[in-house]
Symmetry: D5
Amino acid sequence: MSQSAAIPTGNAPYSDLPPIISAFFEAKARKGLSFDAIAKQIGKDEVWLAAAFYGQAKFEEADLKKVAEILEIPVANAEGQLGSHWWPNRGLGPMPPQDPVIYRLYEGVLVYGHAIKAIIHEKFGDGIMSMIDCDIHITRKPHPKGDRVVLTFDGKFLPYAKW
Amino acid sequence: MSQSAAIPTGNAPYSDLPPIISAFFEAKARKGLSFDAIAKQIGKDEVWLAAAFYGQAKFEEADLKKVAEILEIPVANAEGQLGSHWWPNRGLGPMPPQDPVIYRLYEGVLVYGHAIKAIIHEKFGDGIMSMIDCDIHITRKPHPKGDRVVLTFDGKFLPYAKW
Amino acid sequence: MSQSAAIPTGNAPYSDLPPIISAFFEAKARKGLSFDAIAKQIGKDEVWLAAAFYGQAKFEEADLKKVAEILEIPVANAEGQLGSHWWPNRGLGPMPPQDPVIYRLYEGVLVYGHAIKAIIHEKFGDGIMSMIDCDIHITRKPHPKGDRVVLTFDGKFLPYAKW
Amino acid sequence: MSQSAAIPTGNAPYSDLPPIISAFFEAKARKGLSFDAIAKQIGKDEVWLAAAFYGQAKFEEADLKKVAEILEIPVANAEGQLGSHWWPNRGLGPMPPQDPVIYRLYEGVLVYGHAIKAIIHEKFGDGIMSMIDCDIHITRKPHPKGDRVVLTFDGKFLPYAKW
Amino acid sequence: MSQSAAIPTGNAPYSDLPPIISAFFEAKARKGLSFDAIAKQIGKDEVWLAAAFYGQAKFEEADLKKVAEILEIPVANAEGQLGSHWWPNRGLGPMPPQDPVIYRLYEGVLVYGHAIKAIIHEKFGDGIMSMIDCDIHITRKPHPKGDRVVLTFDGKFLPYAKW
Amino acid sequence: MSQSAAIPTGNAPYSDLPPIISAFFEAKARKGLSFDAIAKQIGKDEVWLAAAFYGQAKFEEADLKKVAEILEIPVANAEGQLGSHWWPNRGLGPMPPQDPVIYRLYEGVLVYGHAIKAIIHEKFGDGIMSMIDCDIHITRKPHPKGDRVVLTFDGKFLPYAKW
Amino acid sequence: MSQSAAIPTGNAPYSDLPPIISAFFEAKARKGLSFDAIAKQIGKDEVWLAAAFYGQAKFEEADLKKVAEILEIPVANAEGQLGSHWWPNRGLGPMPPQDPVIYRLYEGVLVYGHAIKAIIHEKFGDGIMSMIDCDIHITRKPHPKGDRVVLTFDGKFLPYAKW
Amino acid sequence: MSQSAAIPTGNAPYSDLPPIISAFFEAKARKGLSFDAIAKQIGKDEVWLAAAFYGQAKFEEADLKKVAEILEIPVANAEGQLGSHWWPNRGLGPMPPQDPVIYRLYEGVLVYGHAIKAIIHEKFGDGIMSMIDCDIHITRKPHPKGDRVVLTFDGKFLPYAKW
Amino acid sequence: MSQSAAIPTGNAPYSDLPPIISAFFEAKARKGLSFDAIAKQIGKDEVWLAAAFYGQAKFEEADLKKVAEILEIPVANAEGQLGSHWWPNRGLGPMPPQDPVIYRLYEGVLVYGHAIKAIIHEKFGDGIMSMIDCDIHITRKPHPKGDRVVLTFDGKFLPYAKW
Amino acid sequence: MSQSAAIPTGNAPYSDLPPIISAFFEAKARKGLSFDAIAKQIGKDEVWLAAAFYGQAKFEEADLKKVAEILEIPVANAEGQLGSHWWPNRGLGPMPPQDPVIYRLYEGVLVYGHAIKAIIHEKFGDGIMSMIDCDIHITRKPHPKGDRVVLTFDGKFLPYAKW
């Protein structure tokens, strides 16, 4: 009934994800499961699982199978569309993002990008924080003046090659 | 001698910051001080201080005075240019960023933006993580396969008004 | 009969809102109800309600139910598509806006943006007017030379964190 | 001493305003005057005056003279540069705005643009709210959970010609 | 038979106008009527009528009815889709325009924009020529070296408010 | 004294016109001459003359000489910079234009572009209105509800070659 | 069978040409006819004919009829869709072009644009080469080191009006 | 005296060419030489020479020497700035071009790009017309209805590698 | 079953390739064949073959036939859609690319573009590395700290014509 | 004498590199040294060295010293500007690149980006080729039909984290 409910609208890239993705969102909504609830069952983090739902990460076979079972979706369908021959074509679509939640992350880059770069260089030298070998976590931190979102990027430092 | 050294080149916005900013960077370089070393003396975090150096945050009078003294820059000059009548005009310049360090942050938005949005909504409801009431920290986490950058955004959750 | 009439054309983002939205607009047109008339029945402002119709705000369960009843749309359908698992993916689409009504608002930012920023800083210090915790109202003000639109943004001031 | 302090940095358009503008900002800062304080003396609103300082509005001769006197700037210079032969070339520069204060106004257009358009049409018919014949006011509204910015646009409704 | 013929191709915005618009174009082509011929019957100008066909102007009830009758299209359908609840969402789509006819108008802005602005200011002072309260006419002017297009904008001058 | 006054600010293209252009604007302002007053003396239209001042048209030798004399600028300088070897590099700079006067012209293209194209085709066939062989005039038309700007483009129709 | 084969993919503008265009391409492919072979039969150049197939030129009635007959497509269909009421909406779609063949033409503008402009001015004075009254031809020129494409634009010079 | 006259204004890329380029343009203007007159003396085409003046082609040593002598510019200066260590950084600057002469070339790509591509493929197969191994010529063709510009690109056909 | 699996999602250009392309990807996935396995059978490189699958290269008749046979797809269908009348319309779609794999290639241009240009000029003179007559190979190079991708472009040097 | 000769013009980013960079290019040109000749003396590759000259890589102290000595530039100046406190702010400036040498690299991404991505995934799984831990080499490969540029990227494969 509510399948389209949780798929972001107004965002073309997601409209051409493999159709099984819609089934995933629909089943998740129908069963009232949070990303966290599903993620715990496959031993992954909720942020990673949500990324996989949005076609931004690739399931390993075993995890894909387990998720399909949790959602009561035919495993063959899931494997047919998201299996070994499918590779995520990552990306968000038109930038800058207009949704305020995502824009605030983008604003973090605008306002603090150079400051973050400077501190990384001072602490590590010439190189980058990897966004490939990077874990991301979100926690809710209670606070008397209003709870806070704690968003953490934990990425490997990669020094520039000199050859 | 090395005044222009630490000011980011290839980035127009910074070229029209108040000139005292160049003096700050030059003095910091000449004295061999890290942002962390200066920040500790004024009881602020190094990321915040770096943002202030890049014109992305506003010093309080007392902090500005202390920083000027640490850098041995005439306090009156600092106050004249960054004092009570100056307000940061925040921003990074042309987007998307081309420097790989800053681009990786941007890529985090591209790849994980919708996942982060989804988890925030599941944990907090309809609203955003504030980038105004937000602390940012960077730590170096030792790791046998290569040390890691841990970048944390700790921002207040703001629910949407319904009126 | 007139369902597509009130949905903005030429504006892709709205074309992929949940289909129930079209039914909302169609029923509203068929019944000849203004946003104000519906809004009054659920104790909300007409601007907020219009935003919800355009997928830019999230109904609470009770309000969604009441609106569906007013419009004689099956409540289950409305809940299935706009219920607890659906989160607005806010945004207008390609910018700058080309429709003259919306462009004038944009022009207000172009021409008066820095003036507004300056006055906010003089009155409140370093921070922003929240667009999340913000009420918006429109009234018609009679005037002998032609009635006037009075558009008011009433948003919480948020000071920048210093950490 | 602090002349460049109050001129927005990182914003090329303002860098080529007539040079007297810099002198205006500098004198205003040196004298510690707010826009409101100056505006009251010439019987104008502070938002309008700030717009005029940013080259977004045109002084009438008498007002220009009075402002120059208040700021103790040679009236002839002010008239030479901002007098009868000078016309504002309005605009903000690269869009979207990156400064968070101005971005929030822009976000208001993104999120509430269609809702505002819909309500204007319902209340007035086919036409626009003029941004030319429009007064803008900002007031500080005390609130126990944090004071609020009240920003009001009061613009004439203009119906579309049909010829 | 020729319904799609007269609808501009390669121009996305028009593809999502209310479907009755296609019927209008198709009937106009089938009957071999010019915009001028139809316009004369409802007492409007051909340019205004063409704009209404392209969804850039709003029919009054009586005119809509008459046009539908001229085109032998069910009035109820026309009213259902373009009636009192429909408001034009004006705009052309991606800019700059690529079609040479429309580009030449755009080039007029590029080459003569500042000259036109200067003359308007010299003749009227600080203000604009309204594009809302503006009539547009096109006439064919015979000329021995090749006939000429005479395109006239007749718009109300609006002085800037000073408040 | 007031030389920079009349040169549009915030518009980079004009800043690199031959420097004699600044002298032209300055002299025009100092002598209090309108474009119309100068244009009449050389038998040209004020819009054309303003375009020439903005570097968007090329003076013939005789006209350049006469204008320099009217403005009391050394003729040799004017000829050296705007003489037979100089060719206008036409254009306005970043688009869309942000100044409201120029934007309204641009909005005319957005809203009425397809209507104008349709009428030109109906009246002339497949071809364009030339913007090269085009005269432009502005007149002030008195009107009881507020005077009107009448802006006329009178351009040769050019049919498409078929070869 | 192969109808979609010859229609350029990855290029949205062509996807909304009148559907008869697809039939033209399909028939041309099925019959194994080159543009040149068809063009010769109607006394036109192959480049012009190809432009007409891509919706960038308008057939005269007689030519349209003949082409339909050559391709064995119902003449009425062709006339219904491309006949007297259809006007080309010219353009290529998103720029810069990404296909290398078309990009090389674009690169010709990038690298030699100012040189071509300078020579046109030296040979003709202030004016342009018309792209409306312009014939385009392509010939294959044998060459021992590899045959060459000779692409010729033969366009009328149009001097700027001075009024 | 007239050095800046012939350098295109409003076009940033040229403003940072080696300064000797300005001297070239100035001397050419002062001596009243056309590109053709200079080109003939070094056995090159005028279009190529103009491209070299605009920094879009590289002089061979002997030609550079001869041009400097013709212009009476110190050869050592010319060699120091445009000699063996200098390589053109080709390009026009912001696109699309706004100057009508250059825009018409660009419009040729917009309107005839796909037609030209189709004919090249029909005549040569899968490959491109080189813009690197390409000669460009402009001739003035007398015509009773107005002389014509004949612009020819003579470029090597390069077939795609298949490996 | 898994046909859509291997076609990149979120990338509009590919969605309008000839439909046989989808059948190619689907059959390749179903048979579990790598590009390398297919390429070896037709004596081509895997990179070239993958480009052909993505519509970026043109099959010769014989190869197309063989590939169709390998994939057990009707040869007539393949020839009908990708045969002698079809020419690739190359390109990637919106830039910059957002997928991290492709972005890294783009970043190589951003960071090392000028360095590569400089070395090519030093080694070869004024000219380019052809991307048309260019072979591309990818090999996996074992390495104790993690295997490496070796990506080689082997392109003909083309000197600039001087005419 | 020839200092500006080798610095790319028309490319803003390089214009605000530390001024010592100009001295490097000037000395290199004056001494007639190739990047390869200098690179060999410090045991680095010429591509890396060229990148460092363009401010896209960071010298280690010892290398910087040696390069300064080779170029006979005061070591203190070099260290003051490019020493331990300076971090490259990498990037090329406006994209897409207009210079044909650099554009061809960009075109490689456009045409072969998805093919390269597909082969990397087939050979390595889900991950990227690092552009940070990546060596780049250029060699000249003799060939009877014209020598070839062999450009090699040798980058570490980085698999995506799954957390």
